[in-house]
């Protein structure tokens, strides 16, 4: 008691106060930026939502205009996720638990580099290389799986359809999902893994018992980031997909649902007047969709993390 409260309440120094206030300010600034994005899009977008037929490419209402694009955005992203997530988890496992350690380091660098390939490069590659290469596969799918609504055809000979767009998106989100999954898998406690192996588990059983439970929320979070990038991906889709304002599940034909982001990129440079507001309003819709997706995914991550042992 002689030392009194000195050790319990150290003096607050001025440097501390300035530093913590600055840090807090930066955090609050981020909240303001996010609020700013919503507010400014709303301010500029509302005139677009109430716009007349003249600015809506002949559609009756804004909602009739944005609907097909919203559908196309979600559809393309889901195709991309379905293709990319299993492969990405596989690659991440290969790098973290299968490849020899020295090689694994180099493979990690390769994935990191490829996460940075710009979307416009993927788009140009998608047109010049991927679409022609995929046409035979699309033809095969149309012939053998044509009873499914996705592969009804007839296959577009240039290959610039939803099928190619979905695959380009899958390729684009693959490095990101892989990089995050790999980091998460590598963080699995070594003792957990060794305990599983010591109990006689095969490598696959060890991964199922230790790596996946530990990394589950990481996989969800990685997929979420991938989905976010796929939903908002603009230039690759704008280049590869010849989209229009229709609803269709058919991935092979010439008529495809466009995406919101690609539509904005294609229309914005030439737009003027209320048409600009309409495009900003569609951007607001895209913002709302991605916000909803991220919000849901974060909730899943939060709930699962209680069981994952990752904390």
């Amino acid at each position: 008691m002689a030392t009194r409260t000195r050790s319990e309440h150290p003096p607050v120094r001025r440097g501390d106060r300035i530093f913590s206030a600055t840090a807090l300010g930066a955090g609050i600034l981020i909240l303001l930026i996010l609020a700013g994005v919503a507010i400014f899009l709303l301010v500029q977008g509302v005139p677009g939502i109430t716009a007349g037929r003249g600015s809506l490419s002949g559609r009756d209402s804004f909602w009739a205009y944005v609907g097909p694009f919203a559908f196309g955005t979600v559809y393309a992203s889901i195709i991309a996720l379905v293709v990319a997530v299993p492969i990405a988890v596989g690659i991440a496992l290969f790098i973290s638990h299968y490849a020899p350690r020295r090689v694994a380091l180099a493979l990690g660098y390769i994935v990191d580099l490829l996460a940075a390939v710009p979307s416009v490069v993927f788009g140009v590659w998608g047109i010049t290389v991927l679409s022609p290469a995929l046409v035979p596969i699309m033809q095969w799918l149309e012939d053998n799986a044509g009873f499914l609504p996705f592969f009804e055809g007839p296959t577009l000979t240039s290959g610039r359809n939803m099928f190619t767009a979905g695959l380009v998106l899958a390729v684009m989100i693959l490095p990101i999902i892989t990089a995050i999954c790999r980091e998460v898998f590598l963080q699995t406690p070594r003792l957990h893994e060794e305990a599983a192996l010591a109990l006689g588990a095969t490598r696959w059983e060890m991964i199922r018992m230790t790596v996946f439970p530990y990394g589950r929320s990481g996989i969800v979070s990685a997929s979420m980031l991938g989905l976010g990038r796929a939903l908002g991906e603009t230039l690759a889709v704008a280049l590869v997909l010849s989209g229009s304002a229709i609803y269709t599940f058919n991935t092979l034909a010439a008529e495809n649902s466009g995406t919101i982001a690609a539509n904005i990129a294609l229309q914005f440079p030439e737009a003027s007047g209320t048409a600009v507001n309409v495009l900003i309003a569609t951007g607001l819709i895209l913002f709302v969709i991605t916000f909803a997706v991220n919000y849901t995914a974060r909730k899943i991550v939060d709930r699962r993390s209680e069981f994952s042992g990752a904390n």
Partner: protein, 352 residues
């Protein structure tokens, strides 16, 4: 001692399962080789067909073989090993193809003129990316100057100072911000500057702000992860020596995490330097160099690449320039990554 050892002897049944029959080490490679040959014969020696069909046959054969000789558990393990390896090969195909395409079609375009001239008064052949490179460099640089302090300070707040509901909200919203589509960031910058300068605005600082919106969450998230990895013992040791909290953060926590933070920042640069959509909205495209970030259109590499590809001109020479631009962009990204590795290597505390 001897008696305890004896009680730990495993029962006889367990001892037998240890000496279970296993496939020889060379089995997977040998089976795979055989399957490739079968695949080659069946598909008529096409490269892709051979590999695909051979891999499928391999998975079936190794499963049956392992199941009969070893056990169903081992068989599942071997199949998963095959699947995981093929996932990696599948991913390499498009990635190698992208790099190969960009290099093979971009390299012939690169020349001294390509780097030293803009597109001013160029019709048809010639012209270059001088204006676009500088646009990209200083717009990204401005975004970096805006994002890095905000991002790192926020991460410090979240890890070192944050208590209660506010940091939870900030962390949550930063995650949400990570998902903001790049084109929405461009529209935000446009909507912001339209209020100030009126419709049809194209301005450089807007591009920097749009890129910052995309960059900040990446910096925050990666920095936060790195700060969390700093052992608490280091902080406690500093406090025990009477070091103020802010000096502990600046002198102990940040240097320890520096390598990771540098990597995170570099990845964030690499993410935004190739962003096309927001710059297409707020910067547009121009044929001449514009060094004034506060007025007028500015060309950037990604937007240049896009426009040269979709509007190649009457003689189609733009397509070549598009691939040249794409190659320069990819090269910049490669160099950035190399620099990040170097920084991270030089300053890594684990080396000491």
């Amino acid at each position: 001692m001897a008696s305890t050892l004896e009680t730990q002897q495993p029962p006889a049944g367990a001892a037998r399962s240890i000496h279970q029959r296993t496939l020889p080490r060379y089995a997977p490679a040998a089976v795979f080789g055989g399957c490739l040959v079968i695949g080659a014969v069946l598909t008529g020696f096409g490269l892709i067909g051979t590999v695909v069909l051979g891999s499928v046959i391999y998975l079936v054969v190794i499963y049956v073989l392992s199941r009969t000789v070893e056990s169903s558990r081992k068989a599942a393990d071997r199949v998963v090993t095959g699947l995981v390896t093929s996932a990696f090969v599948i991913a390499l195909v498009p990635l190698v193809s992208v790099i190969y395409t960009v290099f093979s079609r971009g390299l012939p375009v690169l020349s001294a003129t390509f780097f030293t001239s803009s597109m001013r008064n160029v019709v048809g052949e010639g012209g270059g990316v001088f204006h676009a490179i500088w646009g990209t460099v200083y717009i990204t640089g401005m975004a970096l100057v805006i994002s890095v302090p905000i991002g790192i300070l926020t991460a410090i707040y979240l890890v070192e100072y944050g208590r209660g509901w506010l940091p939870r909200q900030i962390r949550f919203l930063v995650d949400v911000m990570t998902g903001i589509p790049s084109i929405v960031a461009g529209l935000f910058a446009y909507a912001l500057f339209v209020l100030i300068f009126g419709p049809g605005i194209r301005i450089g600082i807007g591009g920097a702000i749009a890129l910052s919106v995309l960059m900040i969450p990446v910096v925050v998230r990666s920095t936060e992860e790195m700060l969390k990895l700093v052992p608490n013992e280091l902080r406690e040791a500093a406090y025990a020596l009477g070091v103020p909290k802010w000096r502990t953060i600046v002198k102990v926590v940040l240097p320890t995490a520096l390598a990771g933070i540098a990597t995170g920042v570099t990845l964030s640069i690499a993410r935004v330097i190739g962003e096309t959509a927001p710059l297409l909205i707020i910067l547009g495209i121009t044929d001449s160099a514009n060094f004034d970030p506060f007025s007028g259109r500015i060309a950037t590499l990604p937007v240049f690449t896009y426009y040269e590809y979709i509007q190649p001109g009457v003689d189609g020479s733009g397509e070549g320039r598009a691939f040249g631009g794409a190659l320069v962009l990819v090269l910049i990204v490669l160099v950035l990554n190399a620099v990040a590795r170097l920084i991270s290597y030089l300053f890594s505390p684990t080396k000491a």
